[in-house]
């Protein structure tokens, strides 16, 4: 009981400090490695966290037009990111091969997602889902209640990434085309022509044939049907969530950021500044928590002192026996202190183990 009470009291501040420390390290380290993020105007915190840690879906999007605009400035590597999809609850991110170069991610086995329908798994995804190259994974339904949304797609696992100890370990990567396929912009079905059964035709004129809902889309991409996939949007209008920009130098970074300060559709942000701003707020909360933990600690110490005094009262006969048998007062005090030290050490051990468990759980939920 005493050990549990002490352990809980010690566990909370230890956990809070560990979580804040690790979250801050992870946020800062990822932010420092990503000089600029471009995205649709809106919440800069959401844009940063979404683009760096693939948590949540973007509230608004930009298009390939913006990607081309930033890329054409030729001031560094521009990596498009498409968020918002998942498979087995892990985020499915659409990107290009530049992403892997900038993040120094290499496949442990297989290849990067080069072809439509291919997926490369982050290290922990593969480990936890027990999947390997050559296996398949079905994407999650985007919106269960939206009948017009795309159906889940069976992706071909073409590679597993090396462990990077970052958010990339818990992510599935596909190319941009696959992301558009997942969003329903692209699809594949049997060719519709004059030979198509009239039961599948909704309308027909000299220039076009429109199929009805009975025409089934392919739910996986394979060698036989890959050429049947197509996109119903102009290339430059295809959506992307954000751009990670890795300028060649500080000068290019400054110019690029400056060029988009007053842009009407796109905002440019420095993740390290946003993260610092975020952490400042987190540290204020931490300070407040630490103060409350100190007060809780004092209360727990007083409670413990009361317990010790009560224990001495209830063990008076035992103490008297030990004294009569030959135990001196110093040894008796040392026995009680020893007992207290053992209790405290056990509580500390329990609290550290609990704190580590809680931290792992909380970190996974936070970032």
């Amino acid at each position: 009981m005493q050990v549990a009470a002490l352990a809980i009291t010690m566990c909370l501040p230890i956990t809070a400090n560990m979580i804040v420390g690790e979250v801050s390290d992870k946020l800062q380290s990822r932010a420092k490695k990503t000089p600029l993020i471009f995205g649709a105007k809106g919440d800069r915190f959401d844009l940063t966290i979404n683009s760096l840690f693939f948590r949540g879906a973007p509230s608004s999007e930009i298009s390939m037009l913006e990607y081309n605009r930033v890329k054409n400035e030729n001031r560094g590597s521009v990596v498009p990111i498409i968020l918002g999809f998942a498979a087995k609850k892990y985020p499915v991110i659409g990107t290009t091969t530049e992403y892997f170069l900038e993040r120094t991610l290499v496949p442990k086995s297989g290849t990067l997602p080069l072809v439509l329908g291919d997926v490369t798994l982050g290290y922990l995804c593969a480990k936890r889902l027990n999947l390997k190259e050559g296996d398949h994974i079905l994407t999650d339904q985007v919106n269960l209640y939206n009948l017009s949304a795309s159906n889940p797609v069976k992706l071909n696992i073409t590679g597993i990434l090396e462990e990077s100890k970052s958010a990339d370990d818990e992510t599935l990567f596909v190319n941009l085309q696959t992301s558009w396929l997942l969003s329903g912009i692209g699809h594949g079905h049997v060719k519709i022509d004059d030979k198509t059964s009239s039961e599948s035709i909704l309308s027909k004129n000299k220039s076009s044939i429109t199929a009805n809902a009975s025409l089934e889309n392919y739910i996986e991409v394979n060698d036989e049907n890959i050429n049947a996939f197509h996109f119903h949007k102009e290339q430059e209008n295809l959506p992307i969530s954000s751009l990670l920009v890795f300028p060649k130098n500080i000068k290019d970074e400054t110019i690029l950021k400056g060029n988009y300060i007053n842009d009407k559709t796109v905002q440019s942000i420095r993740p390290r500044e946003i993260v610092s701003e975020l952490l400042e707020f987190v540290f204020k909360i931490k300070q407040f928590l630490n103060t409350s933990f100190i007060l809780t600690g004092i209360a727990a110490s007083l409670f413990l002192l009361a317990l010790i005094l009560l224990s001495i009262q209830t063990r008076k006969r035992e103490i008297k026996t030990l004294f009569l048998i030959g135990c001196d007062r110093k040894t008796l005090i040392l026995l009680f202190i020893g007992e207290l030290v053992i209790l405290s050490c056990m509580a500390l051990l329990v609290s550290i183990i609990t704190a580590y468990a809680l931290k792992s759980l909380a970190i996974g939920l936070i970032i």
Binding site: R317, E318, L322, L324, G326, D328, T331
Partner: protein, 228 residues
């Protein structure tokens, strides 16, 4: 020559607790080595106080307590503790076994608590031999709450005798027992202390047990010990 026969001599002893209105006075008391002595008296008559004075826990305000020729009333606190560890064994009314220690650890507890007694292989072997004698040798690794009442009592007596003390003080070990059980317990204590050649000083308020003792000190009569 007569002095050599005596383990304890008390002369002109005066002790009182400040502010409590209690005073113990013993003008002359002699206890022979190896004898079995009962201290008899009503509640509050000073039986336990006398036992504590003899064992050096309390220091008299005046008078002399000579144990095996040495005056213990002049000793320092540390010296009195050393004297107590070396010479006195205690048996308590409720046995006062330490419930969270094993039977063996309870038996050798005096050795574990004091640096002046060295706990070695020989001590452990002696403890095991004693356990064999009192028929608990197969329960050495059990805990006191797993023993029967009789086994607990024998263990408590054995613990008092493990250091081979010259004097065993038993503080009302038969206090809450019926006559038959009290006699059984008393015989066990007498038997064990006789085997260890220890003098037995038993505090009691039960006159039914006096037959078994060589000497009775009746504190109701204070200064004049009765010899049976």
């Amino acid at each position: 020559m007569e002095n050599e026969k005596q383990i304890l001599q008390i002369e002109d002893l005066k002790f009182w607790y400040t502010g409590k209105g209690f005073q113990l006075e013993i003008s002359n008391l002699k206890i022979n080595k190896g004898s079995k002595v009962a201290i008899l008296g009503k509640s509050g008559s000073g039986k336990t106080t006398l036992a504590h004075l003899i064992s050096g826990i309390l220091k008299p305000q005046s008078g002399l307590i000579r144990f095996m020729g040495q005056d213990i009333s002049d000793l320092s606190d540390g010296e009195r503790r050393a004297y107590r560890i070396k010479n006195i064994g205690f048996i308590f009314q409720e046995f006062e076994l330490i419930e969270y220690l094993s039977v063996l650890d309870n038996l050798i507890l005096p050795y574990k608590l004091t640096k002046s007694l060295s706990l070695n292989e020989e001590t452990i072997n002696r403890a095991k031999a004693i356990a064999g004698r009192i028929e608990i040798e197969n329960k050495l690794h059990k805990y006191p709450n797993q023993l029967s009442g009789g086994e607990r009592q024998r263990l408590a007596t054995a613990r008092a005798l493990i250091t081979s003390p010259a004097l065993v003080i038993a503080d009302e070990p038969t206090g809450n027992l019926d006559t038959q059980t009290a006699n059984k317990v008393l015989n066990e204590i007498i038997n064990q202390s006789s085997k260890s050649n220890s003098t037995l000083l038993m505090i009691t308020h039960d006159p039914r047990l006096l037959e078994s003792f060589d000497q009775v000190i009746d504190l109701n009569k204070l200064t004049n010990p009765i010899t049976v």
